[in-house]
Symmetry: D2
């Protein structure tokens, strides 16, 4: 690895791009080589959002893919496949924040996204970039598919129960997301007056796209095993997911807590709350943490088989750009948490 | 009934009291006789909140109970019982917004609220003030127990499935409430900086107090039939509840929609959305409406047995003071919707 | 006047249109005859916003102008002139919520709005619809130019000082507006994530368009007499304006308060706070009130010549649709406050 | 200086204390030795706020003042004086975030705060901790009085005009602050429901306490030279101040911009926007930056003497804890920006 890591970002002026710029600008070992934006091509970064980093914004076609060590792609799903291929061929480590390489099979991609995958050969090389489950694979990958924000929270909340074969499906995940999760594109749903003082359920059911990742990573392949119910809530950042889980044994909240602690022992970015506590957005927003709490449906002291598990992340950090930097650190052999504290110019 | 209805409010300076004042001040047939407040006794209404209605605030001990036609009590649970008794004895119609007369048995009250009921004789005379279920009883009642805000939404959302014997328990109700639901008392949880940009689950489980009303009204008496998971969300007003329901037959969303329409035919304050639509806060906040939407977990066209039902109300209107005025109108023989449109001085 | 007033709204699906529908739907003497919308033509009202009033939406070209008693136009400035003319010719009372007929001269209109006025003959017939200044003229008008939201607040806050010849110009008006003031059209500035947790000054200076109305109505015609500094703030509704005023005499706050009370004696929608109090949004939002407070820069007891005057209104009510209904009531000989309390279905 | 700086915080569980903990926990050269809290004494940090740093909280009386290199005090004004003295005597660098050592004379302190200063001897040793004005003094100080949040913004916005003798007083500063500026103590004004969807002017006038610091630092000593009008706005963090300035010469906006650039040349935490741009909260919140914009009242191209200057900071960073760490870095000879990027665990 070179002393300084040269990084390029394709799609730098959406919310995940913006967050990547903030993190990489302050990362002690990274130098931003170029930033692309079709909307703002020819302008400079402070024209796109209120940060004082004076980088030029170039069209993606002008990006020097072979002059950088790592390329981040923060594009919508469907728009990323071919750019990923070009960056991969140019030799860079590629971290794709879209959904295009998260599902292992092109059939699943076609079924869930309604699109033909144009880079099926690359699918086999993509590591699913959730370090808590796939750290070793990420370390040796050249293409990392950064997980979705909703699935990151859901998978980390349920994985210990899957790992220990305790979970009794189905699970219903009641998810609440801040508005930055809907992206920077203008839409009536994200107009301030429509979103503020409001709560809006949307695209609920078994067929929400994020279910695909959750099922894949947790091995919940049966029909109707994961029911996902997202809501838009009037905050800028953060995801909270609430799930009632039924388990195959009778545990106290303390015993379940022990199970989670063991599962995530030494994980730098998973914070398990004491038994009986519940995760809130404030536990995670502004950080790269995933916070998990569990409490008994009846109480916390008697052994029981029904628990309420709550999990929160910052959708732009652990749910997107923070996790992308974490993955970069792992793949490049840097300390895993390096640069994940920097947000002030 | 007299031409003009004289009304008194005990506990006029909390949020439900404030909303009652707004509604009654503009009600075409009501005259406010007195308002009590212990905190602001001796001051005037504009000292307590920013409304320009210049009423004096007196201590409850000075209230002329026999000089009014109707007494509203907006006190915390436990604090209302004895005042209700005095108002009842004085001959007024009594509408109690606390929880003290909502449960039919003093045993249930003791179990859920941890308090001995001091007016058990009156419990038999109290009508549960949900007009959509108990209109006839309310019409002839002299004591009306105004329902809780969470139960109002939950009961109206599930009642058509109970009424038609379709529901397969258990049900998990994921509820989200605006901060006014927590009352005007100061607490760390309602400090702006702690609640804003945050989402906070609290007191989740089978034993949340509001479960008692839901079970009583829906006849769900078995253990673990209703699991209630409330969250505090950063909006001033409004409750949204999301419930996955399993039914005993296979219906399309359209068929379920028909069932709800029939059940609430001619109800002035229930708004059933088209199949596939979901309730949002914006459908109900600022109104006395209860808005209900249903969509299939899989899709809306194939017959299925799993649906997502969403329901919203304004916790201070249909969830408290609006419903109290609706109950008063019914009990006094006034048009049911009278005065429920007035909020501007 | 007919027993029932038939009303039509041109441009019913923006925020001011939506508020007009709410008010007129519940107005005891009004029946909505038709609603127009180009965006939603052919659909029904609940498709455009979450209210359960089931009116059809038609294109403006299909509106039966001669079949109604009153036409409200809620269109952008520039787009209203010709429609106003057609409605006027059809014989209806016309209430225009755009800026097109607010300035008395076509020269001023051209200078401030950069547009040629196409209906100059009608300009002479237009009453400036601020009842507190022009009630008599409004009562006999057939065309009413409903004032802008910022000017309504500014003019009512300063008029008593102008009327008594006390004000020493220049004045600097620091104005803060909720996001609905920017309209329902999508723009980056009104994306939830950009507006939330933010404060944004915009188009500050002597040349802000709203200065034209303020100068016209207050007779402040000299150069640089009114400096207007608007800010977008993260609330849905409401305007607060803060102005430091220098007066020609030395008054106590109590004396200034008396002056304001006398000036607005018997005004149903002006609320003068006690000396030393300041207006907040909460005093006015949700109502048709204009709330005004004044406090001495030094203290409230010593005579002085410098005061801080604060004023608040709901930009969609007293700042737009509420005032439009108030004007309709005056022009049709109805009680001035009729229907201005109705917001609940 | 030792290799690792040992730091203690007195008053660690208010908002400024919380922010200090976040910054110091991640500072590459600092180790937190102890944290005090009277409210939470005996508990641990995660009991006081949702951060996963597991420090114990001790009463101030148990703090080992002589075992640390630097003591931060985040106490209310009046409560800090004697603790500062003890820490100073123990030999540590003392950084006081209260108002107790900001004014140079005990007479001024008594006049503005209504309290007798008990440590007048120490007043002479206190540096006013605004690095842009007093960097050299701070570098050699053992006691640093960290400036108030409002004054930090106001002084940095006006200093270039004072420094160049251009400003014509008086100035009116219209200031807007997020709710964390009001502290973590419970009060009706900071209840979510009262502050949300509201704007509240408070304690306006010449006598607002923060005027004292502004006058002292800018040398505006005449009567009525600074009129300060603060408003509480519904955001968690951030201050925006809007000031109309009259200057003694005629400048274009570009010339004024040049003046500001020269004045703050090489300042790491001052961001001067291009002429015609205005500062927003989003420019500064989450960073240690002070962002300043200026635009002509008439336009930006013609020479004129009236400008609107806008300035924003994060009240908890540049307005308090960020600036405190910046001061510590200067006083200890560390790189000035060190550790001011760390906010993620």
């Amino acid at each position: 690895m070179t002393q300084t890591v040269k990084a390029g970002i394709i799609g730098a002026t959406g919310y995940t791009g913006q967050e990547l710029v903030r993190l990489l600008h302050h990362h002690p070992r990274v130098e931003i080589a170029w930033l692309t934006s079709e909307t703002y091509a020819g302008k400079r970064l402070p024209d796109a959002f209120p940060l004082p980093y004076d980088y030029p914004l170039i069209p993606a076609a002008d990006a020097d893919l072979s002059g950088v060590d790592v390329v981040f792609l923060a594009l919508p799903h469907g728009a990323s496949m071919d750019s990923v291929n070009r960056a991969y061929d140019a030799g860079a480590l590629v971290i794709d924040l879209s959904a295009d390489f998260r599902l292992h099979s092109s059939e699943a991609y076609a079924r869930w996204y309604g699109l033909k995958h144009t880079q099926t050969a690359l699918l086999d090389h993509a590591a699913y970039g959730l370090p808590e489950l796939h750290r070793r694979e990420i370390a040796s990958a050249r293409l990392i598919a950064n997980p979705g924000c909703y699935p990151t929270a859901a998978i980390l909340a349920l994985f210990p129960l899957i790992h220990s074969a305790l979970l009794k499906p189905p699970v219903v995940i009641d998810a609440k997301s801040g508005v930055s999760g809907a992206g920077r594109k203008l839409s009536p749903a994200t107009h301030f007056v429509e979103a503020n003082e409001n709560l809006v359920p949307y695209r609920v059911g078994y067929r929400h796209r994020h279910v695909a990742e959750i099922e894949q990573e947790l091995g919940l392949k049966g029909p109707e095993e994961v029911l996902f119910i997202p809501h838009l809530v009037p905050v800028n950042r953060g995801i909270l997911e609430t799930t009632v889980v039924r388990i195959k044994k009778h545990y106290t909240a303390g015993q379940l807590h022990e199970l989670y602690l063991r599962c995530y022992d030494r994980e730098p970015f998973v914070n398990i709350l004491p038994p009986g506590s519940m995760a809130t957005l404030a536990h995670s927003v502004g950080t790269n943490l995933c916070t998990i709490g569990m409490t008994g449906a009846e109480d916390d002291d008697s052994p029981a088989d029904t628990f309420v598990v709550t999990v929160s992340i910052d959708n732009l950090l652990k749910g997107a750009s923070g996790q992308a930097v974490q993955n970069m650190n792992i793949a490049l052999g840097l300390p895993e948490a390096m640069g994940l504290g920097v947000t002030v110019p």
